[in-house]
């Protein structure tokens, strides 16, 4: 889910004017040097609470609210990011709450909260230092305020559990008692941070803040926004990407019960009604004629055939070259060649794309589940033709993200478009599931050809990888494409950890009209599958054990080797598997973390796969919330198993053939019978991602186990295409 989304581009020249007009709820606004943005006036207060740095609000009753810049998608960022701040703040965790930082204020004040981008498993790893410093700065300000009241030097005072103590005199004050004074103090320019051995909150499995409301139906998602006078909208977009609307017979539905407005766009029709079912029924009944455009004949087979030309093309860019792979392959005693392929995939967040917008009194407000607050507000402002200061985005916890709700804000734009046509009326646009599947930004297709060479002793001495794929960045952030290479697309190959003297990675980009996007783990959904299965093939050719074969090749990548060894040990790799049980193993590093997976499975009737056990070893450096990390491993395993078995988007006559969970099945309860063992092996000293890495090695471990069980090497996904199903 890595994506564009730094905060450059905001017009800083407007800032002076904007700050004057900044109406902040409370009164106590002070400055802070932590984080980004305007250093002199950064504290953000709230009614009744003192803003101590822009991150922390302390109320007189000692309630601490931590501002969260990233989004809660179910991965636990609301809690984990607050843990980082509070580790240094030394407050009482029982008094802590979290809330989203205001998007409009963030933009007006030069990205006051750093970045709101929630993708690429980066929330913790990219903001941990800033947040720990913010907590430390706020604590110092509170301590200094207490010390000033007592007339003692701050160094004689300490803070713990939300209480400041002057040891010599035994006097104490709570954070709440001095919050207002603390907020008026100078922000310390420098703060000292605790070392890992002193951490108490970091590493603690505290319950997530967002969970209680998610069990009672009280959690408000974008789909659940209810405002006075709210209307509901459903949309139908041109089925063939790039097509246009030719005509729509609006009169056919305009008298229908509850229908308030029909909006006809260049490539969509939308109906706004007093009830979503009425809107959806009307929009589906509306007679439309599309101009499918130039892509009306494109099929998946045609796209794959073009990728094949990429596999054969001469003169394609080189992403990495070590030694002389070609020459070594030409004369090696043992050479293996294999082609692999992976299809388009849809995100299928369980909450379909949804946004609510209200255009009133010259201001636009949007309520949306987003992975990228900056992208949402920019898209809304651009669609409305408004300056950013007249727009605000209210972030809501998203019903799944997985990369769909980041850089791509198509649904936000559409909701804004509808709201602008109905001034004063909030409009809630919810895509039908059918639109959601047919108008996604898809995990792109890729074909690869791998060639590997072994010497007489079975040592791996050379390999070549030719990738032919559709690039995400060429579509989403073209400036990031370098010399014809998508740097995200070559991950797991160009940066592979294996110490093989001769290696060439070439890359042929073949774009299509199907819009590509970041999908949970992005290139690490398929590249490690190709790589680790191919290595398993090499092991078979060499007659070597897959763990023993990799060991010397990973000697220079000790963290990769360590997780591989950990997974092997946990699964009992060196001992015989139980009767009828077969094993596969794979390793991958992704998003700053290191992971290996071992799978145990049985196969009945040569096609019914019973996955018994999935071990995932994960080294993410420091673990902030171990229970949340384990949940990400469990979810990642389910995600990977479903992807490998079921998921495939196909194109016919230029459009996506699938439309709902019937023809785009995802993993179900009865298929998740495996014991999932999350083996956290944090080695410390770094902060790796967690939302995506745990799934990276699973598909390869699964397919390697499948080979062990059946002798069938599956070189394309999904497995259902090869006749397999889960038990």
């Amino acid at each position: 889910m890595r994506e564009a989304g730094t905060s450059e581009g905001f017009d800083a020249s407007r800032r002076a004017f904007l700050l004057k007009g900044a109406a902040v709820g409370g009164a106590l606004v002070i400055g802070v040097g932590t984080g980004h943005g305007a250093a002199a006036d950064a504290g953000v207060a709230r009614d009744g609470g003192a803003g101590i740095t822009q991150w922390v609000v302390v109320e007189p009753d000692d309630t601490v609210t931590v501002r969260i810049a990233r989004s809660e998608l179910g991965q636990g960022s609301f809690t984990g990011l607050a843990q980082l701040v509070c580790e240094e703040l030394e407050c009482d965790w029982r008094n802590v709450r979290a809330e989203y930082a205001d998007v409009n204020e963030h933009m007006r004040r030069d990205c006051l909260w750093g970045s709101m981008v929630t993708g690429g498993s980066r929330s913790i790893r990219e903001s941990q230092e800033m947040l720990r410093k913010a907590g430390a700065a706020a604590r110092q300000m509170l301590v200094a305020a207490a010390a000033a009241r007592w007339g003692v030097p701050p160094v004689e005072c300490g803070a713990s559990q939300g209480v400041i103590t002057h040891a010599a005199s035994g006097r104490t004050l709570t954070f709440g008692a001095v919050a207002a004074e603390a907020a008026r103090r100078e922000i310390p320019g420098q703060v000292a941070l605790k070392g890992p051995k002193d951490w108490r909150l970091i590493g603690s499995p505290v319950p997530r803040f967002d969970i209680p409301d998610k069990t009672t139906g009280r959690q408000i998602y974008a789909a659940d926004v209810r405002l006075p006078g709210l209307l509901h909208a459903s949309i139908v977009q041109v089925p063939v990407f790039g097509g246009r609307l030719k005509s729509a017979d609006v009169s056919a539905v305009s008298g229908t019960r509850g229908v308030r407005k029909v909006v006809v766009g260049d490539d969509f029709v939308a109906v706004v009604a007093d009830n979503w079912w009425r809107a959806n029924r009307a929009v589906r009944a509306l007679p439309v004629e599309w101009d499918a455009g130039e892509h009306a004949a494109v099929t998946s087979d045609a796209i794959r055939a073009r990728l094949r030309t990429g596999l054969d093309a001469a003169d394609v860019p080189v992403a990495r070259r070590d030694g002389e792979a070609e020459a070594v392959l030409a004369s090696a005693p043992m050479v293996l060649e294999a082609e692999y392929h992976a299809p388009y995939l849809a995100h299928a967040t369980l909450e379909p794309q949804t946004a609510t917008a209200l255009w009133q009194d010259g201001h636009l407000q949007v309520w949306v589940g987003t992975q990228n607050g900056e992208a949402s507000i920019r898209a809304a402002a651009e669609e409305a033709g408004l300056p950013l200061e007249r727009v605000n985005v209210h972030k809501l916890h998203a019903g799944g993200g997985f990369g769909r709700r980041g850089a791509h804000q198509d649904y936000t734009r559409q909701a804004v478009r509808l709201a602008m046509e109905l001034p004063g009326t909030p409009v809630r646009l919810q895509w039908s599931r059918e639109e959601d599947i047919r108008h996604d930004r898809y995990r792109p297709v890729e074909s690869v050809r791998l060639r590997g060479a072994l010497d007489e002793a079975g040592n791996w001495i050379a390999w070549q990888v030719r990738q032919a794929e559709q690039s995400i960045l060429a579509s989403v952030r073209p400036a990031a494409v370098r010399g014809g290479i998508d740097p995200v697309g070559v991950r797991a190959f160009a940066d592979n950890p294996y110490d093989v003297p001769n290696f060439t990675n070439t890359y042929a980009m073949h774009d299509s009209h199907v819009p590509p996007g970041f999908w949970r783990a992005v290139a690490h959904t398929h590249n490690p599958y190709f790589r680790e299965c191919f290595i398993d093939e090499l092991c078979r050719l060499a007659g070597r054990d897959p763990v023993e074969f990799r060991r010397p090749l990973l000697a220079k990548s000790p963290k990769d080797l360590a997780v591989l060894e950990a997974a092997a040990k946990a699964v009992g790799w060196n001992d015989a598997a139980p009767e009828g049980v077969h094993r596969g193993i794979a390793v991958a590093d992704a998003y700053g973390s290191f992971t290996a997976a071992a799978v145990e499975l049985s196969v009945r009737e040569e096609r019914i796969v019973d996955v018994r056990r999935v071990v995932v070893a994960l080294d993410c450096g420091h673990v902030v919330n171990p229970d949340a990390v384990i949940a990400q491993v469990e979810g990642g395993v389910a995600w990977a198993l479903g992807m490998a078995m079921h998921e495939e988007i196909t194109i016919r006559a230029g459009h996506v053939e699938q439309s709902n969970f019937t023809d785009y099945p995802v993993l179900r309860m009865h298929e998740m019978t495996a014991r999932v063992e999350a083996l956290l092996v944090p080695s410390g000293g770094f902060w790796g991602g967690v939302g995506e890495p745990p799934l990276a090695a699973v598909p390869a471990a699964l397919c390697n186990a499948l080979f062990a069980a059946t002798g069938r090497r599956v070189r394309s996904l999904p497995l259902k295409r090869h006749g397999f199903s889960f038990a």
Partner: protein
Amino acid sequence: MLEMTVNGRPVALDVEPEMPLLWVLRDELGLTGSKYGCGIGVCGACTVHVDGAAVRACVLPASEVAGRSVTTIEALAADDLHPIQKAWIALQVPQCGYCQSGMIMSVAALLASTPQPSDDQIDEALGNICRCGTYVRVRRAIHALAAESKK
């Protein structure tokens, strides 16, 4: 006028008889705890109880609910929290949470009829989709509830 009982309260509605119960609940009555995920009875996000049985509200016409009693996630607990909700919190089951209203309503119906379900019975009863993949914890929480009820 269509009459039914929703969460213990009688309601009278002027809606099309074919309007699915889900939209009666969400858009006419403002009960947004039940979710739309697929609209075709496949994902279970919309699961509610009608006369105590778990049903997919997105494909159940309002006319078929006339005179019957509907319970949604908002009224699952008689007071503070239902034991299932407590177990869900204790085992930290939800991720994004969007499926969980329906998941919990399905589990409530299952445990009401089968207090100690086997894994097969769980699989049978829970066709609910969780895109976040919380299945492992859902199963664990059901077994924990079953063990609790044995005591």
